[in-house]
């Protein structure tokens, strides 16, 4: 059986992923020219490399049309319901670090924790005639974190696909759920992360679609072992 591994198609993520695979003894060579979206692994004829965007990788791994993928844990957990049942996180690769966090305006001096935010959300409608608005592109993660973990139901998500940090100042939302690696963009927008507001510490991972055919496939085991060895 041919095993397909999807790797990020551009940028730092692409270089870092190639470096890990190199170190694992799985040298990736592009098929055709340097910009090709297909590749293979030297010496392993049964492995195909597909270069895809990080969010496509999460989708394709969910549908099982690829076997392995390298992408951010945030994209997997946001993109797939019941992620752990559908994919296996084989290895954390040590790059692409970013936290998905709940951030509120710095000036909300009385709000430090999710419990504080729950109080504010519960009262919001009575005070402002609308629900607390959260700008985010992380619908699923936000719902899980707010509803399941903290029992906060009374909020509305305002979809934001870019410049989310600007939403509270521009008035299009009250708070945000967004990804941050250094926190400097949050700071520049006068936002602070709640003390228990880190929803997910994400990094690039090697993930495997849980497919029945993988169980006894030595090639699958070999790939996992090699990558795990490279990051150990």
């Amino acid at each position: 059986m041919t095993i397909t591994i999807a790797l990020p198609s551009k940028g730092r993520m692409k270089d870092d992923a190639s470096a890990i695979f190199d170190k694992a003894g799985l040298k990736i060579v592009a098929v055709g020219n340097e910009r090709s979206y297909r590749g293979r692994v030297e010496g392993l004829d049964d492995v195909e490399i597909a270069f895809l965007s990080a969010s496509e990788i999460s989708r394709e791994i969910g549908s099982g049309s690829i076997d392995f993928g390298v992408t951010g844990e945030d994209l997997i957990r946001e993109g797939l319901s019941e992620a752990d049942a559908r994919v296996e996180f084989c290895a954390r690769l040590g790059f692409g670090h970013a936290d998905v966090v709940v951030a509120v305006p710095e000036i909300w001096l009385d709000v430090d924790t999710m419990a504080d935010l729950g109080d504010v959300a519960a009262d919001f409608r009575a005070r402002h005639g609308r629900r607390l608005a959260i700008a985010t592109k992380y619908w699923r993660l936000t719902q899980q974190f707010f509803s399941s973990q903290h029992g906060i139901q009374l909020y509305r998500i305002v979809e934001s696909l870019g410049a989310t940090e600007g939403a509270p100042a521009s008035g299009s939302a009250d708070i945000i759920v967004d990804i941050t690696s250094t926190g400097s963009t949050l700071k520049a927008n006068h936002l602070k992360i709640l003390s228990d507001g880190i929803m997910l510490r994400s990094q690039a991972c090697l993930v495997r679609a849980r497919k029945a055919g993988h169980t006894d496939d030595p090639l699958v085991a070999k790939i996992i072992e090699a990558v795990q060895g490279a990051v150990a």
């Binding site: 710095e106 009385d110 139901q153 100042a169 009250d174």
Partner: protein, 379 residues
């Protein structure tokens, strides 16, 4: 592919509704999504079927009847009291069971005799299920958020804590987490020396002015979201409470209350004894509770066969008082769920407060119960 035929007993149900003097209404299957998300919260989003109109309006397939029926009542400016009934398909994304199924129910809007209206809703639900599911033994559980509200008020807890507890009522994990958290002091830290000084001075106006200036300077509108006044007030409240913790005695009282579980017929005496022993004054809430038990008797419901569970509630902020649910003995599948939602009508835009109580019947589960041989418990 499963069939979505109406259950065989649908005609009988409609006859039941007519005999009960209700007005049958049907609402469009395609509904604006906004009111549902606004009332039930964002969590509902992944459990309903949503789409967008060509103009970008969020629409959904009707996930339940209460909100559409109430909205229609407000739009048509129908007078109260008015009792509506409905029977139709609803659509929800479910892990188990079909995504489209039938629900029927009654919404009783504007009846000011609350005890009788509560009793009538419970009595009607029991009578309908008894008639449609002959030979099945029903388990009816009843809860009442207003008794819990009276308990936390009588314990003399700070207003902010009362709100939190009431908000968590009905969710046992949340309540437990909250009780644990309130049992230890919550210091307010991380404030700048300037803010600390302003707080210590007790000069509210200057504190508010300072917050106002900071917001202006950092590009935040002072009226689009939380205002400087609101932030200052809550900060002061937190500071005032930071050394306070829920004392062991109050904690024990709350835990004892939440563990009450008994036949409804015994509940008035048990609640009275609990109040006496704990030294709490619950008179108003208890007399309303007793009136409901009496009204149930008048409606021909034997309170000995109902269970009162003090911790039973629905963590939705428009449920205000009595809630109930009915299962077949030994099963966990809820066949009927209902309760009082006095806050919903004004939240949906009614000009005046309209008391409301109602219940919904899950027709698919009733069918499954009928199909099951006697004595065999459901999942």
């Amino acid at each position: 592919m499963p069939l979505i035929n109406l259950p065989a007993f649908a005609a009988d149900l409609l006859a039941d509704f007519e005999r009960l003097g209700t007005l049958r209404v049907d609402t469009p299957v395609i509904q604006p999504a906004e009111p549902f998300l606004d009332m039930a919260g964002e969590d509902l989003r992944r459990r309903i079927f949503m789409t967008e109109s060509e103009t970008g309006k969020s629409l959904c397939l009707r996930p339940e009847f209460t909100i559409p029926v109430c909205l229609r009542h407000i739009e048509t400016a129908t007078g109260t009291p008015q009792r509506y009934s409905y029977l139709g398909e609803i659509f929800r994304q479910r892990r188990e069971g079909a995504n489209e199924f039938y629900q029927a129910g009654i919404e009783d809007l504007g009846e000011t005799d609350v005890a009788s209206a509560d009793a009538r809703a419970i009595g009607d639900a029991i009578a309908i299920l008894t008639a449609r599911l002959p030979g099945k033994k029903l388990d009816v559980t009843l809860g009442d958020q207003s008794v819990f509200e009276a308990v936390v008020a009588a314990c003399g807890l700070p207003a902010g804590w009362q709100k939190r507890l009431i908000h968590a009522f009905g969710n046992s994990t949340q309540i437990e987490t909250l009780l644990t958290r309130l049992s230890s002091p919550q210091p307010v830290t991380g404030l700048s020396p300037e803010i600390e000084a302003l707080l210590a001075s007790g000069d509210d106006a200057t504190l508010i002015a300072h917050l106002d200036e900071t917001m202006e300077a950092t590009g935040y509108s002072t009226n689009a979201s939380r205002s400087p006044k609101e932030i200052a007030a809550r900060l002061k409240e937190k500071r005032a409470l930071e050394k306070t913790a829920l004392d062991g005695r109050t904690l024990a009282v709350l835990r004892e209350f939440l563990s009450l579980n008994m036949p409804l017929a015994d509940a008035p005496a048990a609640l009275f004894a609990f109040a006496q022993k704990s030294g709490l004054t619950l008179d108003g809430a208890l007399s309303r509770f007793d009136a409901r038990v009496a009204a149930l008797g008048n409606a021909g419901v034997d309170a000995k066969t109902l269970t009162y569970r003090a911790a039973f509630g629905r963590p939705l902020d428009y449920y205000t008082g009595m809630v109930f649910e009915i299962v077949i003995e030994g099963s966990s599948a809820v066949l009927a769920g209902g309760g009082r939602f006095d806050r919903l009508m004004t939240l949906l835009g009614a000009k005046e407060r309209i008391p409301a109580v109602g219940f919904a019947l899950w027709l698919d589960r009733m069918e499954q119960a009928l199909a099951r041989p006697k004595g065999e418990a459901a999942q």
